[in-house]
């Protein structure tokens, strides 16, 4: 072949690839234009403003780090990260180098896309050219890199554990077909190039040696055209499959990264952004392992990836929507950064079960007047030891407080929100705002993270809102409370609503550090496990909740802590119901035991329990 | 249904019923509402069975309704009853035979009181003596008129002209019985067959070829209940009680209701009319209502007496459909003619209950 010829070479076998590529490019460009056009005016302005700012290069960097290198997956498991990286980044490099190589050998000519892809077909022997050995070596090395990833992917199908995954996603037929096409691409490329290299004694260190070796016992001249055809067909087929399969995530994720950088977020109902997110899910299955319903209860068909898939293609079932504890662990771990929690919450809003005026009966009720308002909440009334200890500490610190819902409160609305009952929740929120505003407080403290979450996110109160762990820490820092540190070994359990929900991780730890020695469990902070008592789910039984609680507790207490500290009445009740042997105490109870000058000692339940045990032994 | 179980109970509750020489005492309600029934009872005893039966024009009410509505004191009641006993003694009879179930209950109650509290009897003797100068003795035998019919049910059967068999289908007629509360509920031993499974009417139906239907609300009160009925505002309670019975028997499609208490007969009959007018509902399929018969009327029909002589035209629920089923020959034109053939005039026609002119 004359590389300097003006006429561009052609062979019919390139057609499947070329057609597939043209289809894909048109589809993606069309889809992107459609999506962007569908955004609200507000969001469009954000996109335009963001485009001409530093956010664009930042987004490009993120695309490189996440879409190509898969940094987040690496963090989860090195082998899994390598698998993703070798496939994505390796393929990317193959394309880049292929193009460079072609441009180099055609002296800068602009070639149709099939030329760099099938360059070895059109130019059999590069080794004789200048730098030919360098290019063939590099291309073979890159191919090996990709193939190692493909090999790992094969392996993962059979044994996923070494790659850090207990469960893998169950895929649909079309996904399996696309996967097969993808898995065939690189082995077929290897075959085609090796056959060519064997026949012409060309190619790099791998293709040449495989080709030469095959020649010794195979009539490889008959494989020549079929292998290139097969390679082209595999590529073309894969491209055509992309829009209809999970592999749509490859192009969409790039768009998603840009949109996210420009500040676009999930709305109160599904939006175009949701569409982009749905298509960005690669169904990698990391959310499946993150989910305790799967790991603890063996429910492995309702995780976020399945919900996303179901929303993308059809109507999700009630079971699919409802089966989630709303702990948001998967949210934290999603390598694509999809706002799964909001998508599920919006999905739950589709059925409003309560009427406009469901709670009109709440009328003329008042909370007590207070400067520092303490709010126990519904659950808090079932754990008197928590509010008693908290209030005892307030008293010691000289806080001018009042227990505003001592005679009972109305629900904060969060449980309804978690069940998707937004309209009903709004009614309660409005009523509660008035009740709280009427008590004239300057600070609102609650010991229930569920209440704290909704107070912070939805109440728009003009006064600061604290969880009692935060407020007690402030009192300690102001030297109003002094604690005596003992050698009590404490593990702290992050309640979902307080930790991932409100980002309060440090204050409870700092506070507990004043009372004893803090031991971190294997899953803490963002990765902390749910206690199982979640109000986000209704369709599991008490026994199932107990199972989750026992597993979470056993992990928490695995380091032989003396006590498991929690900061949520619901967590406390759930743990206590699940286990009789592990000591569970609210942070306030532990702090009360550690408080100095505790002359008028009000015994917390925690102390009681110890004493009772001594009597019984 | 375990019939042997019922027979066992029936055999436990067999009462002594006089054979002859009855001193008949009228019922306030029956003589007012169903005068033909009283008449036919006396005729059956005298003409068909050849019994000696007399009555006194001097006897009075037992004052049972007044007593049960707490208008008449117990002492007065006892004295009035004692006077009626004295009249029987004057006539030289010993077998007291009241036609009213309320009265039967009153007499039974008083005799039982005197048995347990002889001082009450003595007191009553004094009162009666003081008031009327009369002396009295307790009757030797106290039997309700339905008891008497029960006793002679087989004789009646032998002399009968008709049976309780549907002439068209050949099937036995389905009969629901209703026993007056005061017949045996207060003193089960004084009723034939006791209070739970009374046999006094069931025995007649069986003997004359019919089939007794054991419907769930069989023991339920007809709704008379004295105080509930007498005050208009309370009548809702009364009619609701009857309604409950009708609803309970409806699905069995009974051919007629058989009663032994004049009050019950009245309410079972009239409330069907009232319910039809108030709610548009009848408890048979054709809008006729379910005919309600007393035991004397039924005995009269079986023996071949003319329905209009028995006084069946006094019923609110027309009995003609039943007469057809039994194959009784009757003259529709005679329905509203008096004994002497004089036209009595047509009653007002109800809106919802079928009325056969």
């Amino acid at each position: 072949m004359n590389l300097h010829a003006v006429q561009i070479p052609f062979h019919p076998f390139v057609l499947p690839f070329t057609i597939g590529l043209i289809f894909l490019v048109f589809y993606i460009v069309g889809k992107w234009i459609y999506w962007v056009s569908q955004f609200s005016w507000e969001d469009k302005k954000k996109i335009i403003r963001g485009f001409f700012s530093l956010k664009t290069p930042q987004a490009i960097w993120e695309v490189f780090m996440e879409s190509l290198l898969h940094r987040k997956v690496f963090r989860r498991n090195a082998l899994l990260g390598y698998m993703h990286m070798s496939l994505a980044f390796g393929w990317f490099l193959l394309i880049v180098f292929g193009n460079l190589e072609t441009r180099f050998f055609t002296h800068g000519r602009i070639n149709p896309p099939y030329i760099p892809i099938f360059f070895e077909f059109f130019e059999h022997d590069l080794t004789s050219l200048d730098y030919g050995r360098f290019f063939t070596f590099t291309m073979d090395l890159l191919l090996l890199f990709v193939l190692s990833g493909v090999g790992l992917a094969y392996f993962k199908r059979f044994r996923s554990k070494p790659l850090g995954m207990k469960n893998t996603t169950k895929h649909s037929t079309i996904d399996r077909l696309a996967l097969t096409a993808l898995w065939l691409i690189f082995p077929l490329r290897l075959l085609a190039e090796s056959v060519t290299a064997g026949l012409y004694d060309a190619g790099g260190f791998i293709t040449n040696s495989i080709g030469t070796f095959m020649m010794t016992f195979l009539p490889i001249q008959h494989f020549y055209y079929p292998s290139w055809w097969a390679y082209s067909i595999a590529l073309g087929a894969f491209f055509v499959f992309i829009p209809f399969t999970r592999y749509m995530h490859i192009p969409t994720e790039i768009l998603l990264i840009f949109l996210r950088k420009y500040g676009i977020v999930e709305k109160a109902i599904h939006s175009t952004y949701t569409q982009v997110e749905l298509s960005s899910c690669s169904r990698c299955g990391i959310c499946i392992d993150a989910c305790q319903l799967g790991s603890d209860l063996g429910i492995v068909s309702t995780q976020s990836t399945y919900l996303i898939k179901s929303i993308r293609y059809d109507q999700p079932t009630e079971k699919l929507i409802d089966s989630c504890m709303a702990c948001t662990r998967c949210d934290q771990l999603c390598p694509v950064g999809i706002d799964i929690a909001s998508i599920r919450a919006n999905e739950r809003k589709m059925i409003q079960l309560f009427q406009e005026n469901s709670y009109k009966y709440i009328n003329g009720y008042e909370y007590k007047k207070a400067k520092v308002a303490y709010f126990a909440g519904c659950m808090g009334h079932l754990t008197p030891s928590v509010y008693k200890a908290t209030l005892a500490l307030f008293k010691k610190a000289g806080v001018d407080y009042n227990f505003i819902d001592r005679d009972g409160s109305i629900c904060c609305g969060r449980p309804l929100q978690l069940a998707g009952q937004e309209d009903a929740a709004k009614q309660l929120i409005e009523k509660n705002i008035k009740l709280i505003e009427n008590c004239g407080a300057t600070v609102l403290v609650t010991s229930c993270p569920i209440c704290a979450k909704v107070f912070t996110d939805s109440y728009k109160l003009k006064i600061p809102i604290y969880h009692h762990s935060q407020y007690l820490l402030m009192l300690a820092k102001e030297k109003k409370l002094k604690f005596e540190k003992s050698d009590l070994q404490i593990t702290y359990h992050d309640p979902c609503e307080l930790g991932r929900g409100l980002g309060v991780y440090d204050e409870p730890r700092e506070l507990l550090g004043m009372a004893g020695k803090l031991i971190e469990s294997a899953n803490s902070r963002e990765n902390s496990l749910c206690c199982g008592g979640s109000l986000g789910i209704t369709n599991i039984s008490h026994e199932q909740r107990n199972t989750i609680a026992s597993i979470t507790l056993s992990e928490l207490a695995a380091d032989k802590a003396d006590v498991v500290a929690t900061a949520c009445p619901l967590c406390k009740k759930t743990f206590k119901s699940a286990s009789e042997n592990v000591r569970i105490a609210d942070i306030s109870e532990i702090m009360l035991d550690a408080v100095q000058e505790n002359a008028n000692k009000i015994q917390s339940e925690f102390v009681q329990e110890k004493e009772i045990e001594t009597i019984h032994n | 249904m375990k019939v042997e179980g019922k027979r066992k109970i029936w055999s436990d509750y067999q009462k002594d019923i006089a054979y002859d020489r009855f001193y008949y005492v009228r019922s306030c309600i029956r003589q007012t509402v169903w005068p033909g029934a009283e008449n036919i009872y006396l005729r059956i005893l005298r003409e068909v069975l050849g019994k000696e039966v007399i009555e006194s024009e001097h006897h009075t009410t037992c004052t049972g309704i007044g007593y049960h509505t707490e208008v008449v004191p117990f002492e007065t009641l006892q004295t009035v009853v004692a006077r009626n006993f004295a009249l029987m003694q004057d006539a030289g009879f010993e077998n007291y035979n009241p036609s009213c179930v309320t009265s039967f209950g009153i007499y039974t109650e008083i005799l039982d009181t005197w048995h347990h509290f002889p001082e009450e009897k003595q007191k009553t003797r004094d009162y009666l003596k003081k008031a009327t100068g009369r002396e009295f003795e307790e009757p030797k035998n106290l039997a309700h008129t339905s008891d008497v019919i029960y006793k002679f049910r087989n004789e009646i059967s032998e002399k009968s002209k008709y049976t309780l068999i549907n002439k068209v289908t050949g099937e036995p007629l389905k009969v629901v019985d209703h026993i007056g509360c005061h017949y045996a509920k207060m003193f089960p031993a004084k009723g034939v067959g006791g209070a739970e499974y009374p046999h006094v009417l069931a025995g007649l139906v069986e003997a004359w070829g019919g089939e007794v239907i054991d419907y769930p609300e069989r023991r339920h009160c007809c709704g008379f209940g004295f105080r509930q009925y007498l005050v208009q505002a309370n009548r809702g309670y009364s009619i609701s009680a009857s309604k409950k019975k009708f609803e309970s028997m409806e699905s069995f499609k009974p051919d007629f209701i058989l009663t032994n208490c004049p009050g019950c007969n009245f309410f079972m009959d009239r409330w069907q009319y009232a319910l039809a007018e108030m709610e548009g509902k009848t408890y048979d399929e054709n809008g006729n209502g379910i005919p309600v018969l007393t035991y004397e009327e039924l005995a009269g029909l079986v023996l071949g007496f003319d329905p209009w002589v028995i006084g069946l035209q006094m019923h609110q629920v027309d009995v003609e459909p039943l007469l057809v089923k039994m194959g009784i020959d009757y003259d529709p034109n005679q329905k509203f003619k008096g004994i002497n053939g004089k036209d009595l005039g047509l009653p007002e026609s109800p809106n919802n209950l079928n009325f056969i002119k």
Binding site: Y359, P415, L428 | G236, A274, E277, M278, E279, G280
Partner: protein
């Protein structure tokens, strides 16, 4: 219809032959903990809504079991789904789920 100055009384009886137990059956199929109630009343006494109204979860369940569905559904609306009752129940009845099932029944009616 004629007015005689009195009326028949409404029946005050659970007629289980005529009762519509469809809702009860469907709830116990979806969540069998519905059947475990021992009528202790813990749920009602701890109920946040119960402090303001006559709402009684126990009674609501009982009404459904007797086929008084419309009353039960109307009652269920008062629930705030706060979940206190779930913690109080000695028989582990999945109370919040049952409320949701009852509310869903309301949607389909």
């Amino acid at each position: 219809m004629v007015n005689f100055g009195y009326t028949t009384l409404p029946t005050h009886i659970h007629d289980m032959d005529k009762a519509d137990l469809g809702l009860a059956d469907s709830i116990s199929f979806e969540d069998s903990s519905f059947n475990l109630c021992i009528a202790c009343g813990s749920c009602t006494s701890t109920c946040t809504a119960g402090a303001f109204t006559n709402f009684s979860f126990r009674q609501m369940c009982h009404q459904i079991k007797r086929g008084e569905n419309s009353q039960a559904i109307a009652e269920s609306e008062k629930c705030m789904l706060c979940g206190k009752c779930t913690l109080a129940c000695p028989r582990n009845v999945n109370t919040r789920n049952i409320i949701r099932l009852v509310r869903k029944a309301n949607q389909t009616i």
